[in-house]
């Protein structure tokens, strides 16, 4: 029995499909790796130093217990300490330069939730989820980067293990 040969047109279709699949795979790979990579920040802020000094996450990200957003420290908060703490450090001088201009530092977002997800820090932090569960050991990161791929499977994985799982796996708990 003779094997069926693929016609030239069919071959082209196969090539096109393969090319599309490769491009799609590359796009997904790029998205994922880039999502996990540490983005370049306007200031080389070092979480590790702060962590070693024993400064709590909530000291700077102080609305995590009371608001959906953890909050970024205001310039006034940075300068509240750094007016006197290590003011000659070149990185802190950069922070002071923003303060002198009374401008905010345009930080680049590290962890991002899609807009169609309702996420509240308040609900998690007040129910015993530690910051590290989602953000990793930031205290040992020189530059903050995303450690977990915050997709729906990952969220549900944890929600399913909770005592009130039936409520927590309801669609509208996040997609409201």
């Amino acid at each position: 029995m003779r094997l069926k040969t693929v016609s030239p047109v069919g071959r082209r279709i196969i090539i096109a499909v393969v090319v599309i699949l490769v491009v799609a795979a590359a796009a997904i790979l790029l998205f994922v790796t880039e999502a996990r990579a540490a983005p370049a920040q306007p200031i080389a802020f070092n979480h590790q130093v702060m962590g070693q000094l024993g400064i709590q996450c909530l000291y700077c990200h102080n609305t995590a217990r009371v608001s959906p957003a953890a909050g970024m420290p205001s310039m006034a908060k940075c300068m509240g300490c750094h007016k006197v703490v290590d003011p000659t450090n070149p990185v802190i001088k950069e922070v002071a330069a923003y303060w002198d201009k009374q401008q905010p530092i345009p930080w680049v977002r590290v962890n991002v939730m899609p807009r169609f997800v309702f996420f509240s820090h308040e609900a998690h932090v007040n129910n015993g989820v530690s910051c590290e569960t989602c953000h990793g050991d930031v205290n040992h990161m020189t530059v903050a980067h995303q450690v977990v791929n915050m997709n729906m499977g990952w969220c549900l994985d944890c929600h399913e293990k909770q005592p009130n799982a039936p409520q927590l796996i309801d669609c509208v708990i996040c997609h409201r």
Binding site: V23, A26, A27, I28, L30, F31, E34, A35, P39, T63, V66, S67, P68, A69, A70, G71, M72, P73, S74, M75, A76, K77, W99, Q102, Q103, P104, I105, P106, W107, V108, R109, V110, V112, H121
Partner: protein
């Protein structure tokens, strides 16, 4: 030799390029967004949690209470204030669009001087220089200062302007814009004064009425208070168990209210008063079982002989229909007659309005229940707070006359745009030419600011202080509070603060305007209020007054109906058929001007949300329509989208034909709002300004026009193409239509 690009290679490279672009687009979107922390965080702000501030809407003079959602210092959404007695948490499209006024890219970011009027050669100056210039000019002008303002100005600014002008001996501010004239504020007050001895705007208790005859009042459109009458309409139709109100609408062109009516009668333009008079005459001579025998007695005070056939011929309403109207009105327990703003634009406006208001008098206050017409309650705060008092067209002409005579050295323009709004024949251009110095307080360069020498940009209402005394007040005196909900976005200053600063240097004014700024002025006024519903147990607490959106008493006052009658007009009340301006041969059509539901009188034209929203009835946006009956269109040989010239004895505009079956064949309807030359990128160069078709007289509703084709045709920017209209509308109202 240059490498040859074959077609095949070109396509390969193009595909590669497209692939690369797609890949780049797959990058994580977080790269595009920066997280900007506060430099100094405001105390009451919590990251990620919205703050809501209560204030007052200024998109029209109604004065609805609003709450504005603020995130990180930015205003994101405007909603109605649920606590506010007027709008009860509801808000119209214009109110929602207020955000685009605040963040409008065309706002001025500094005071500017213009090198030559109309040149658009603006030079930004420092605020100190701007204020000093205003001071120098005011000081040099002595008492030859005039103020022209708009009807949605804050009460405190009007108060300060009034004190300033009276201190320096100048005439009182003139408040005039198309909403004043097209809603008939002044004429209605005059009629109420003559009939009931009280110059107040009437409130119609639509929610408790059973029969409503509306004489062209577009209650659900941008009339006196669109939002409140929308709520009342809901009650009227379905608020009472087992009872549905019956609405009759008389108008030459079907409005939104007309489209909702049970009976829509295309009355001949200007003849609404005659219909009202016929109903009065019929009530006086007939014996329909009226629940109140007094009605016949009261009707006799106005009535004359009835000639149904003559009235029918003049009004286009058949004798059967007239009898039907009389019967339902006389037999109803709580009937209501509502005059439309268009009546005030007739040469004999007072007679027509009197005829309609007389119907409400004949009904009297319904016994044993709410309903009927009431006049705004006696304001217990009238010594403390003021509402900008609309001026009549003749007041405006007096001001223009003064300007033409050279008796005005400095003209201040606040919150109105007379160059756009006034008919050319009013002679504003000549009058302005005689005024040595014109100062505008417009936040965006509008047509009037373009004719000013100095522009001191005012803040928009979401950044401003103020209050609004509601009028008409729906049986509850309300002072709606206004506060800045965001930090001012542009380097604009409040007009009231600028005037208070300038007044310091003018000895006569300094004595009466001693406050450091407008907040000190407002606090002093508010502190004298009596105890209100939400403002604290012990006097008025400023913070609570702002938090809840204003001051109002805990309980509604008893409705004050038209119980007493002042000097009666000698019977019979005689409504004359109006004389329309323009020769009937040369100008065969009646012009029906109406206020746009979205752009209002033109003040909403600079907001893209309002421009892009489809009109509720035609679903057309961005364009000026010339609406005519399909039969008329066929007769004069035009079709949808055809560019036509509409000419009146006073002017000429271009518009696009839209055939609309629900209107009289002898009428042409055009909405106001478009046709700006200035007023920002979204307003200018769209459509035409139909106010140019009106002559220099208060009778804006009695003009004849002609329609001629230019031979060009455009595509209408239409959302829905007349769904169910052509097949569903029998058009039987017009013989031969």
């Amino acid at each position: 030799m240059t490498p040859k690009i074959t077609r095949r290679n070109f396509l390969r490279f193009a595909t590669l390029g497209a692939g690369a672009t797609i890949l780049a687009g797959c990058a994580n979107p977080r790269r595009w967004v920066t997280l900007e922390p506060y430099v100094r965080p405001p105390e009451e702000q919590l990251a990620g949690v919205a703050t809501w501030y209560a204030s007052t809407c200024r998109m029209c003079p109604a004065g609805c209470g609003i709450i504005v959602r603020i995130m990180n210092g930015r205003a994101l959404k405007i909603e109605g204030n649920p606590e506010h007695p007027l709008n009860q948490g509801k808000l119209c499209a214009r109110g929602q669009a207020g955000l685009q006024l605040l963040y409008n890219p065309d706002r001025l970011n500094a005071p500017v001087v213009q090198s030559g009027r109309g040149s658009h050669q603006f030079r930004a100056i420092a605020w100190e220089e701007g204020i000093n210039t205003l001071f120098d000019k005011l000081q040099g002008a002595g008492d030859q200062v005039a103020v022209l303002g708009g009807s949605s100005m804050s009460g405190h600014l009007y108060d300060i302007l009034g004190r300033l002008t009276s201190a320096i001996g100048a005439s009182a501010p003139v408040i005039y814009d198309p909403l004043v004239s097209m809603n008939g504020y002044v004429a209605l007050k005059d009629v109420d004064m003559a009939l009931f001895g009280k110059a107040a705007l009437p409130t119609y208790d639509l929610g408790n009425a059973d029969i409503v005859i509306s004489f062209g009042a577009d209650l659900l459109g941008p009339g006196l208070s669109q939002v409140r009458y929308g709520i009342e309409y809901g009650k009227f139709r379905s608020g009472r168990l087992g009872q549905r109100g019956y609405l009759v609408q008389l108008e030459p062109h079907q409005s939104l209210t007309g489209a909702k009516a049970d009976l829509w009668l295309p009355v001949q333009p200007g003849m609404e008063g005659l219909v009202a008079q016929a109903i009065i005459d019929l009530i006086a001579s007939h014996s329909f079982a009226s629940p109140d025998p007094l009605r016949v007695e009261r009707a006799k005070l106005f009535a004359g002989p009835v000639d149904l056939n003559k009235t029918a011929a003049a009004t286009g309403i058949s004798p059967t229909e007239l009898l039907h109207l009389e019967q339902i009105f006389a037999e109803a327990e709580r009937p209501l007659a509502i005059p439309g703003g268009g009546l005030s634009g007739l040469p004999d406006a007072n007679a027509s309005l009197t005829a309609v208001q007389a119907l409400n008098f004949i009904v009297g206050m319904p016994a044993g229940g709410p309903g009927g017409m009431s006049l705004s309650p006696e304001d217990q705060l009238s010594k403390l707070v003021v509402k900008p008092q609309p001026s009549s067209f003749s007041d405006l002409l007096v001001l223009l006359g003064k300007m033409k005579a050279g008796a005005v050295k400095v003209l201040l323009v606040l919150g109105s745009n007379p160059v756009y709004e006034l008919p050319l024949q009013a002679g504003l251009a000549e009058a302005l030419a005689k005024v040595p110095y014109v100062v505008s307080f417009a936040p965006i360069v509008d047509e009037t600011a373009a004719q000013a020498d100095l522009i001191l940009p005012d803040r928009t209402y979401l950044e401003s202080w103020g209050y609004d005394v509601l009028s008409p007040a729906f049986d509850l005196p309300v002072v709606s509070s206004q506060q800045p909900v965001v930090t001012p976005r542009f380097d604009a200053r409040s007009a009231a603060d600028v005037l208070l600063t300038v007044a310091k240097g003018i000895p006569a004014a300094a004595k009466v305007l001693s406050w450091t700024d407008e907040v000190a002025f407002l606090k002093e006024v508010i502190a004298q209020f009596p105890q209100g519903a939400v403002t604290g147990d012990n006097g008025v607490i400023w913070e609570r007054y702002l938090q809840h959106g204003g001051w109002w008493p805990a309980a509604a006052a008893a409705p004050q109906g038209p119980a007493t009658m002042q000097a009666l007009p000698p019977p019979p009340l005689q409504v004359a058929a109006p004389q329309f301006l323009g020769d009937a041969g040369q100008y065969p059509f009646f012009l029906h001007l109406y206020v746009s539901s979205l752009l209002s009188d033109g003040r909403g034209a600079n907001l893209p949300w309002l421009q892009a929203s489809p009109d509720p009835l035609t679903t057309v946006s961005w364009q000026t329509l010339v609406e005519i009956n399909p039969a008329t269109a066929q007769k004069i040989g035009v079709e949808d989208g055809e560019v036509v010239k509409v000419s009146s004895p006073y002017g000429e505009i271009e518009g696009y034909i839209y055939t609309y079956p629900a209107m009289r064949p002898d009428t042409v309807a055009i909405a106001t709002g478009q046709g700006h030359i200035d007023y920002g990128r979204y307003a200018s160069q769209h459509g035409s300004n139909p106010l140019l078709l009106v002559g220099a007289q208060p009778a804006w509703a009695s003009v004849r026009v002609n329609v001629t084709s230019t031979g060009r045709k455009v595509k209408l920017s239409i959302f829905e193409w007349k769904p169910g209209v052509e097949e569903g509308f029998p058009n039987q109202a017009f013989p031969g239509g």
